[in-house]
Symmetry: C2
């Protein structure tokens, strides 16, 4: 009886936490995005998947297709686990000119996949081709195409390097903390070009490298190398670091000694970029998860979500450092307005409550300006508290808040007041500085928030700061509260939307 009740509760929570816009697997476990490719007509999303249970085992490539990166059609398993090993992370490319010779009777799109077959004692790189638009893959007979006899050598990402007319593969020498670069003219024979690293945070494993050109605000292209590391994030567990620099077809050289992280929270890992797009165009998914707790999340029948699709660009921050800008894509057409306002004023000490519908994704776009300089002489009275808070709350006393501390120009993300999930590694609070020099007026701030089941995303400072976090309230958050603590706030711009459901998953 108790068990049944528990089952029922778990099932209800599984539906409550299901996002309606963020991609989640039909059932079972999902981690890294794989083989992201635009084939000219549709976007493919392959993903690390255990269809049979909500933990990592017997990993294959799940598959879904979409024309807008939001409405997804589930497809059959594309790459199964075999006797040669689980089908670990990899990529897909368009072999337009049949460089591999594996598309003799080319029709449709020549999609080749390269991925890691993982056995307990060996990880090697496999090539497979699809002659049915990515629905299924046939493995090349001469596999593996790259094998150095290592049990920790994985996650190939391949792109065609036009200036040197060859394919380049980046992959992780996991425990050596290096990214190896290899070259090939046929996707079959690979020659070692160089290694990058160790660089950045000390860690246990390097994973999921991605090397791609990304355009900056002036149109110039920069080479960006993403390296996921796990565990060893300063926030705990998994994190993605990235380097900006030059790539000459063989060697990646960072242009500075700055260590950048893609996220200031801790649930964005294994970011992968789409192939098949125009040069400089960078579209990406990150896995919303952290290996510290991804297999213990309170959804028993499914676990794992993708971030929103994000367009990447590069912008110089106020310190002069080029940094990643992440902008969620194609959301506009899903919007149903709940409330749009201009120039509302929230006086010092006031708050304002807005009811939220539940069971639908919520988007909030807000631009604000805090009141004039707030303190005359801190030497006499001590520092004042001047904070603006946006909280998603419920009548059970739970809240998920984002706030702006004005004197220190930092924002926070606080999920510690939610009670649906507790775990020793589930960090409750995150913060990042907001460099207000970005704005024409240092009193300004912009925030862009998404709450969709267990998926929470915050973009700030014109999308220069990104925070990605899994959130588990015990009851739905049906109230939005704006609070001006110690300082008046002019809300120049306020747009609150629900988003039409795009995922065919059972939600609550």
């Amino acid at each position: 009886m108790t068990e049944k009740k528990n089952d029922c509760v778990f099932s209800k929570m599984s539906r409550q936490y299901r996002p309606s816009v963020h991609f989640t697997p039909p059932a079972g476990f999902m981690n890294d995005p794989n083989g992201l490719i635009f084939d000219g007509a549709q976007y493919h999303l392959y993903y690390q998947h255990n269809p049979d249970a909500a933990f990592s085992a017997n990993i294959c490539w799940g598959h879904a297709i979409s024309t807008d990166l939001l409405n997804w059609k589930d497809q059959p398993i594309a790459v199964p686990a075999t006797i040669d090993g689980q089908a670990y992370t990899g990529c897909a490319v368009l072999d337009r000119d049949n460089s591999s010779g594996l598309f003799p009777n080319a029709h449709g799109t020549n999609i080749a996949a390269l991925y890691t077959r993982s056995l307990p004692t060996r990880q090697s790189q496999y090539l497979a081709v699809s002659t049915n638009n990515g629905q299924s893959f046939e493995e090349y007979q001469g596999n593996p195409v790259l094998d150095i006899g290592s049990p920790n050598f994985r996650d190939p990402q391949v792109f065609f390097h036009e200036p040197t007319r060859k394919w380049v593969m980046a992959l992780a020498e996991v425990e050596k903390h290096q990214i190896g670069f290899y070259g090939s003219i046929d996707l079959i024979h690979w020659t070692h070009l160089s290694n990058f690293g160790p660089a950045g945070l000390p860690t246990v494993n390097y994973e999921c490298p991605n090397l791609i050109q990304i355009r900056d605000e002036h149109g110039a292209l920069h080479w960006v190398l993403f390296v996921s590391i796990n565990p060893g994030s300063p926030m705990g567990g998994s994190v993605t670091q990235y380097f900006i620099g030059e790539f000459d077809g063989a060697v990646f050289t960072p242009s500075d000694a700055i260590l950048r992280l893609t996220d200031f929270a801790k649930d964005a890992y294994a970011m992968q970029v789409y192939s098949g797009l125009q040069p400089g165009e960078a579209v990406t998914f990150a896995w919303m998860g952290n290996w510290q707790y991804c297999q213990e999340l309170p959804t028993q029948d499914w676990r794992g979500a993708m971030s929103l699709p994000r367009r990447l660009s590069i912008r110089q921050d106020p310190n002069g450092y080029p940094r990643l800008v992440q902008t969620p894509m194609n959301i506009e057409k899903l919007r149903r307005t709940l409330l749009c306002e201009k120039a509302a004023y929230l006086p010092k000490g006031a708050h304002r409550d807005i009811s939220l519908p539940t069971g639908r994704a919520i988007e909030l776009v807000i631009r604000l300006k805090v009141d004039e300089s707030f303190q005359t002489d801190p030497a006499i009275s001590g520092p004042e508290i001047n904070r603006f808070e946006i909280a998603f709350a419920n009548d059970a006393g739970e809240k998920l808040s984002v706030g702006y501390d004005v004197p220190s120009a930092q924002i926070w993300l606080d999920r510690s007041k939610l009670r649906g999930f507790d775990h020793p590694f589930y960090t409750g609070r995150f913060a990042t500085p907001i460099n207000t020099a970005l704005y024409p007026d240092a009193r300004m701030l912009d925030l862009h928030l998404f709450l969709d089941g267990c998926a929470f995303e915050i973009y700030a400072n014109e999308h220069l700061e990104t925070g990605t976090a899994l959130v588990y309230p015990s009851k739905p958050l049906d109230m939005l509260r704006l609070k001006a603590d110690g300082i008046g706030v002019t809300i120049d711009h306020f747009e609150l939307y629900t988003l039409d459901k795009t995922m065919c998953r059972e939600t609550l």
Copy 2:
């Protein structure tokens, strides 16, 4: 009436949170350690101090002396705020040969201090000398000795570079994210040598550089450059990063591209090393604080603590990276044994409770070995939970825990279950990987913990990992619970001590 009651409660909490072994100011606010110097007979601890209120204003140099770094005698204010500005962070050196010419009638110890005078529009470097063993300082008439007209140029640290026979000053070009190096033969005239940075994490401010030689386990000396940054820590707010490399008397060159942090929690900032010691000897204090919340801590009459004194050394970690080892000093003589055991076994699923006395600092030294490999086939059953937890708890349901997650070889520090302090930036949980390759047996782990009022320190992995955290239970933590969750644990070595009080502060 309510106000009086609150006063009384605040006062009680102020005493409950007062450490008895960690240094705290007599009253008011304390931040960075300053002018750390061993004069041949005693250790000086100067510190950033507002004696009049528990927040940062009118900063002067507080002062205390000790022969063992634990028993401190308070001294009068050593460097007051003046019309030239607040007395910000700086250093002290022994000018043995009267290179400055400011010790014409040398007697006692020739202590020279160099620090920043801070005005709202300008920060410049001041020289002062003491002819009474560091009790007070007389400022050089030609001050400032270094002024580039910047409002953000501070925190000089000076040492004598023997190979090039000159004084070298490191100081922070705060907003340029650089450490400037300057040279002098007399402590008065300074020539620019080089700049280091930007390097490491992007941030708002660079502060408190320290460049020092530290010995490794083989006796070799390494140059280590500490750079405190604030805000911009991935854990939120303030953090200290460090670089290991070469210094030729003019230029610091890191020997790798690894970014290291001194701490995996977030309350260790502005680390400063003692001058006046033997080459390669590195003794340090860090300020236990974080600018995100240091002025709002729940001790109304005093705020700010120093870490335990720590000896620094360098050791190669299992990945081959040289890293900092931090070992608390001189604690042994304070110990009173509560419980010492060898080879106790805690079966899977069991726990064990030990009563703790309150109002005294607690030290725990523990070495353990978890049971044999714990899982046969995760593909069938899913990952198991195998954790060992050490919790300081009370009957109000609060606990402060440190734990070891065996499958992922990570430890956590969890202060989120304490209820005496709540703040949007007060992060509850921290984690770090434990590289078990360090041990002869990968099932082994060692932890070294100190709980002393609001001061909590954890050292793990033979002191290769350090976590420093301010902790605020609403009631004293009077119970220690060891818990073996899912795996049996052999406790090879268990030493539990109270520590004799060394600080003349009123505690509870």
